[in-house]
Assembly symmetry: C2
Homo-oligomer: 396 residues x 2
């Protein structure tokens, strides 16, 4: 395929619109454009004309689809390239609005919808996730006491960070909404002496979690329930949900608020941990379609709106954005170490899609288009609240 004058014109326009980033483009005939000297952050190889045009005509999906299909190759630092792209992206609020509406209409998080969305992602097989998560299988933002901590140390520190914020005491009853492979539930039971009921609609994860409870001798203390958070019943000293809110969707926040209100004792504490946004925006459409159907990342205000109608007040909030970037760096590194097996099991396209998702998430948290909010709250009328936060840091 020869390179036409119109192809060159298009590529030059693309580079100009993005403010001439330090990137080298190579076309299918070997011709190069943009920053070709040693200063280039990455080299993008465009394999055909359709791919080149899709970058312009479909800014949200074009890059991801072409990368997944192998028609666009990236040589260099993929997370940094994506961070640069996100930071230089022109405004696109109308596209976001359309994408947001389309998401809610096409993939609503009804009880049935949620189950199908969660299966899409989490039922890929625990063995897949075991290849690149930490030994505890924690698939949410870790807490690095220092940036140099290992992923294993940081996930353990995160579990403690959550438990300390909630000030869990022996014998307390805790309910968890969206428990993943059960690490937090097992930690609350084994290290803080709590009695835990943990909900999840991923069969694959529930089976795994129950096995772990058995292995740890915690069957009498932790109950893993394969059910939707909307079916949560009973009253508890603490409610906790780490990394589920992203899958709830804003049209169901009111229901979540009612569920928390109904299950929390008068003195109870509650905790929400979620990927968020500084400004309202739907999830990146490529990620929503290919990786997380039905997902939505709320702003801080949208999270707090869940509490307000129920006389619940914010006690403590923390943004761990850079910790999620670090967590994802660890995941991507481990993922890259298993590419041959993963390609054999899932195919090259799948591996490229997941690489792009992990690298894109690093870029989002580094660049600030994604945030990570931890929110601790309790009933306004309760005075059984921490006097200070010093205990979270081991200071009495």
């Amino acid at each position: 395929m020869t390179v036409r004058a119109s192809d060159r014109w298009l590529l030059r326009r693309l580079l100009a619109v993005r403010g001439h980033p330090p990137i080298e483009f190579a076309l299918w005939n070997g011709e190069t454009f943009g920053s070709s000297t040693g200063g280039a952050l990455a080299r993008l190889v465009v394999e055909d004309r359709a791919t080149l045009w899709s970058l312009v005509l479909q800014p949200e999906h074009g890059f991801g689809d072409a990368y997944a299909a192998g028609r666009l190759r990236v040589e260099g630092d993929l997370p940094r390239l994506l961070e640069l792209a996100f930071r230089s992206a022109p405004g696109r609020s109308w596209e976001w609005t359309v994408a947001q509406l389309a998401t809610r209409m096409l993939r609503p998080n009804t009880r049935r919808g949620s189950r199908s969305h969660i299966q899409h992602h989490y039922d890929l097989g625990s063995d897949f996730y075991a290849r690149w998560l930490d030994e505890r299988m924690v698939y949410t933002c870790a807490y690095f006491p220092t940036p140099e901590a290992s992923l294993e140390e940081a996930q353990l520190a995160k579990l403690d960070h959550v438990c300390r914020k909630l000030r869990l005491r022996p014998g307390e009853r805790v309910v968890e909404a969206g428990c993943g492979w059960g690490s937090l539930a097992l930690h609350m039971a084994s290290q803080y002496g709590c009695r835990v009921r943990a909900f999840n609609i991923s069969s694959e994860q529930i089976v795994w979690a129950r096995e772990r409870a058995k292995g740890l001798g915690l069957v009498g203390r932790v109950e893993f329930v394969e059910d939707d958070y909307r079916n949560l019943r009973g009253r508890y000293d603490a409610f906790v949900s780490v990394g589920m809110l992203e899958h709830v969707g804003p049209t169901h926040y009111k229901v979540l608020g009612r569920v928390i209100d109904a299950c929390l004792e008068p003195h109870g504490r509650a905790f929400l941990h979620s990927i968020g946004r500084a400004q309202p925006a739907p999830l990146n459409p490529w990620i929503e379609k290919n990786i997380f159907p039905g997902a939505y990342t709320p702003t801080f205000r949208e999270m707090v709106k869940i509490l307000e109608p129920h006389g619940l007040a914010v006690l403590d909030a923390e943004n761990l954005r850079l910790h999620y970037a670090r967590t994802l760096e660890h995941w991507l590194l481990r993922f890259e170490g298993h590419v041959p097996e993963l390609e054999e099991q899932f195919g090259e396209r799948f591996v490229r899609m997941w690489r792009l998702y992990l690298a894109g998430s690093i870029a989002g948290f580094r660049g600030g288009s994604l945030q990570l909010f931890q929110l601790l709250f309790s009933r306004t009328s309760s005075n059984e609240i921490p006097w200070t936060r010093a205990g979270v840091y081991g200071v009495s």
Copy 2:
């Protein structure tokens, strides 16, 4: 004045509506009602029929006006009595809505309106406040490392708590909006080596603050500017405002957001500290009319809404509600120790009004109708943010 059957009926209705609180009522003829045994929390003496009826007909103003006029006497624990009253208050959202609208229309916080409102409260004379504030004249919520800390220790700890959250470094330029008598500005300059510009529209406070800067040899490092926050100019490494937002009013939050955005360097950190609410509600109308004209206490969501349009993201939020109750207990205790001089200088009515304001505020913070929010934020695009909050607690 004889007590009529209708008076007795009214008082019994009042007690029934409030759920028969542990309070004894005494009427002007000595007749008593309600909980008269040793279990009564307080004894209310109603001096005349008009006062009795005003408690029912004007639930928002009746109590306060009668108490201030001395027609309603309280024997016993005034803060606990008020906490009980607030907790048992029936819903009154339409009255609140009316009061909120009336406040904004009658006492708008324009530049001129703000000046008049601030003078009403703060220009009572620094000598008045010096009688019951701490030695540094900090008229905002203190931070008690332990509940037993002295007021002096707790106000010093609060200044450090704010500075540590902002991670102030020597040589940084800080702007403060609403600086009171200047304690925080002087502390940032003397203890953290910052160059500070501090704004305030209370002439009385500015004069006092400048004297203190002179006395401490900080004139070259702290500039006290007698001007409105809306006239703030320049670019700074940090923006801080402690206890001013209550006086800004929600119709001016957009302006405040623009001011913060305009003055913050790309790497800058910003901090807002304000009395707040778990649910939207105007200030208690009696307090708004008599103590804080033009004031409004925002919800957490309303505070965060100030940031959102400007690409600013929440980094850290803390609720110090019980610390403000404790702070006010200290203030009330000191206030009571100066009643004879205060009555001589300002009159008995003034003293009763201020006692009711301080006691009512204790009740509001204890009972949860008032909250105290500290909010740290920065530009979404800035990665010069604290890695963890451990440093705030002296943990490296």
